[in-house]
Amino acid sequence: MSVSVEIAEKRFGETPVLGPMAFTVERGETVAILGPSGAGKTTLLRIVAGIDPDFRGEVRVLGDMAMVFQEPVLLPWRTARENLTIVHPGLGRAGADAALARVGIAERAEAFAGQLSLGQQRRLSLARAFAAKPQVLVMDEPFVSLDRDNASAMLDLTLGLIAETQPATLFVTHAREEAERLGARLLELSGSPAGLTPLE
């Protein structure tokens, strides 16, 4: 497996937010964590991504990891191309331009990331995640603030990139249809403290 997660407990202060849970994600597999807002989906994802080390349990990740955040989380003071070459220095200019072309924003390579439209910023965020061909990908509701058409286009683009790269993908969303279009194995996060249950 590429990702193995065993959590005994995660607390915020005195309040337990995540209860005991365990799951794995294999290379080429997509697992979607579903649940309403406030269920703890982002907390779980940040534990897996290594952003939040304050929990009881163990997370094992084999290979390079990339993450697509809820917001694009770019360096607005750097150009679109620099946003890729700073994070992945091995790409070089040609590799960065190819990654930008793959997500359809090649003509914006020289533009500051802060001057791109939200849709273009989302595409740049995807390009950053996939540019170095990660073995593990975590995505935190990456289509949440897009309109229906843009969200659908981004979903198609993401599907194509996942098919090309075949990472172990852990995807968090509250929209079941998004998870189903990604062909994901579904897990529901619910309860207090939250636990995981498989969904058909």
Binding site: R46, M65, V73, W77, E82
Partner: protein, 248 residues
């Protein structure tokens, strides 16, 4: 842009007019000479090389104190803003140094180290570090945690994080600290020179103060003000425009 220049020119003309009126009312060049009476002595001082010599000494001290105060202040402010433990330990020191009169630090540095360049520059630097650290600490507290998370997920090396993630976020705070810093530093440098150096604009002002020569005091004061305005317009404002260009 043209409108802005016109406003600046009119404002400066108004200042000159008030000066001329005050000089006319006082009718005593020993108290307040007319603006045009400074031109001749200014050229004499410039051509003889005396004015450039003292200006250069003051600028040299300002540059050293500025670089040291900004360097130490940024490092300190960043450490305090990012680490609550460091902040708890160093905050009382910051409060003490913020409230210590500049004159006390200058006198103590001269007494402890001696009447030399090290004491002069250290006194100015110590006066400015707390202000820089306070401004940068606020900037460090406002750093975007999501960018921090991104840098952690993609395992950006420390130097890359600092250069591309942290410092660009601090740029407005660094600019603010630099602009207020340069204005305060040169004023403190003049006091330091006034009290314990044998060259520099402050020393010259001290000399002409003893001779009660208001004209020469004004010539040295205005000469250095013009130099610092040039630094502000040609260096600091340009740098600020450069770091803010992605917002336009």
């Amino acid at each position: 842009m043209t409108g802005r220049i016109a406003v600046t020119a009119t404002s400066l003309a108004g200042f000159l007019l008030i000066w001329v009126a005050a000089a006319t009312v006082s009718a005593d060049p020993q108290i307040l000479p007319a603006p045009w009476s400074l031109v001749g002595p200014f050229w004499d001082e410039l051509r003889s090389g005396v004015l450039p010599y003292h200006l250069a000494w003051t600028l040299w001290r300002v540059a050293w104190a500025f670089v040291l105060a900004m360097g130490v202040g940024i490092a300190l402010g960043l450490a305090m803003g990012r680490n609550p433990g460091v902040d708890r330990w160093l905050d009382p020191w910051l409060v003490v140094f913020l409230n210590l009169p500049a004159l006390v630090l200058i006198v103590l540095c001269y007494l402890w180290i001696g009447l030399n360049e090290t004491a002069a520059i250290l006194a100015v630097t110590l006066n400015k570090i707390p202000n820089v650290a306070t401004v940068i600490r606020e900037g460090a507290r406002a750093l975007d945690p999501e960018l921090d998370a991104m840098a952690r997920v993609y395992r950006l090396p420390w130097a890359t994080r600092m250069r591309h993630v942290v410092l660009p976020q601090l740029a407005p705070f660094v600019t603010g600290a630099a602009r207020s810093g340069i204005a305060v530093i040169w004023k403190i440098v003049l006091v330091v020179e006034f009290l314990g150096r044998s060259n520099g604009v402050g020393f010259q002002i001290h000399l002409y103060f003893q001779l009660f020569d208001v004209r020469m005091v004004l010539i040295y004061a205005f000469s250095f003000i013009f130099v610092m305005l040039a630094v502000e317009w040609l260096v600091l404002q340009r740098w600020e425009r450069r770091v803010r260009r992605w917002r336009t």
